[in-house]
Symmetry: C2
């Protein structure tokens, strides 16, 4: 049905206009443990907000809430304008399963951004080029979505065992990352990439435990021109965490262009058991 | 009308049940440049979510979006349950001006949290006790809300001039902070305290420029018992920023109990001009 050249990410986030919002479908290529990879769910909701706004405004901030497990099949996406100011627009998005269950919601802030005084506080970490770092071999992993990204770990690659570590490992990871197959960066894929960092609980404890992202917030510091300049080349990603307590953990991340511009920062809260 | 013992924060965040949600009123004691201090707006919406949920669940995450300037007067607050799972509840809150304008919205995640494996990555910065740090003299400042907090700066106190600095100053601040007059900590005041860090653009440039928070996300890492233990004593706060670009800047913050527990982490995106 689709041309051979359609990237699976574009298939997975495709919105078909309907009488009451849009429909989209879960995509096998992005299947996670229970339902689709959250980055695609967030990117789909961002796409709906951008469609609804239909303007020159670009995303500044987004919070996506994962409310219920998503079953394979059709999803209904609705986006409404909460408030449009002179240069800032607020949208609310909800994604429903066909039985009416809200499976995800999002608030999206769009803005017409212009040049201003500029300053970036942190410098990109001093790391080897992406081409000098071997990609993670994900062929042994069961989860389909892991095949849809190229992960080149510099620090904090997943090391999972059968029993938890005695002492918690570092919660930090640094890696080059991009879509697989390669795809030119846009706001939707930047949002999706913000959610590609494996849950820190797995890394710190060294085992898989029941866990999942509950809410993720993304702040976009780049314009469409910055993303176009980055194109298909890998981004540098950094992720870390500060607290694991009473079934929840935070997680923070940065995504850098390969010429040292901080394109997005992200925080999330994840549930875990044990 | 109120007993002499009512704290201005409780007056400012008071919700009166109505036929269609709650009403509240802006409070002169928390007036900011244009409309009320955002922390009180966020705390009021959190209060509505907690009222609506009415359960033993506690806040885990909240994103508050400031959509339009708030004029002095009455506000209508509506909270609806988006989804209630076994242990996690998602709520959506909207605050309206009397002409129907949505002035603020929020998504709130509540959860029934239980004991689990626990680990805190960062240690509280090694700083002098609150009693050893002089409070900021806010009597010279015009903004009422500044009188409602006690700021004891260890690093990064506001230093504002008439012209911007030649070189950007550090974006980091470290300070002891609490309500003034002192008030026992609860989730509403913890949310409010997350928004008390002066916008980083003022500090980095050393001047006041037109600026305001657009969206703030708070992650709560503490239980009601932790907050009760902290009581009225000052919290240690840290704030920093990473990017100022095209009219927007991010800002991150931590709030620590005085015995070294990270109680909340927060990120926000703020608009600025120039």
């Amino acid at each position: 049905m689709h041309a051979d050249t359609t990237h699976p990410f574009d298939e997975a986030t495709r919105l078909t206009p309907g009488a009451d919002g849009w429909t989209c479908h879960t995509h096998d290529a992005y299947a996670n443990m229970h339902g689709p990879f959250g980055g695609v769910t967030a990117a789909t909701m961002l796409g709906a907000a951008l469609e609804r706004a239909g303007a020159v405004a670009q995303p500044v901030a987004m919070t996506a809430n994962f409310c219920a497990p998503i079953r394979p099949g059709a999803l209904l996406v609705r986006a409404r304008e909460v408030r449009a100011g002179k240069s800032v627009q607020h949208l609310a998005v909800e994604m429903h399963q066909d039985d009416g269950t809200v499976v995800a919601s999002a608030s999206v802030v769009l803005a017409a951004r212009s040049e201003s005084w500029a300053h970036q506080v942190p410098r990109m970490p001093d790391v080897p080029c992406a081409s000098e770092v071997a990609p993670l071999d994900t062929r042994g992993y069961r989860l389909a979505w892991l095949q849809r990204f190229e992960f080149r770990f510099i620090e904090g690659a997943p090391e999972l065992g059968r029993t938890p570590r005695r002492e918690p490992a570092s919660a930090a990871s640094t890696l080059w990352i991009r879509d697989a197959p390669a795809r030119a960066l846009d706001f939707k894929s930047l949002a999706s990439l913000c959610d590609t960092f494996f849950l820190r609980i797995f890394q710190v404890r060294g085992v898989l435990v029941p866990a999942g992202t509950v809410s993720v917030t993304m702040h976009f510091h780049a314009g469409a021109d910055d993303l176009a300049r980055q194109g298909e080349r890998p981004l540098l990603g950094r992720a870390w965490a500060s607290v694991f307590r009473r079934n929840f953990s935070d997680q923070a991340a940065q995504l850098w262009s390969d010429d040292g511009k901080l394109l997005a920062t992200s925080t999330q809260i994840a549930w875990f058991k044990q």
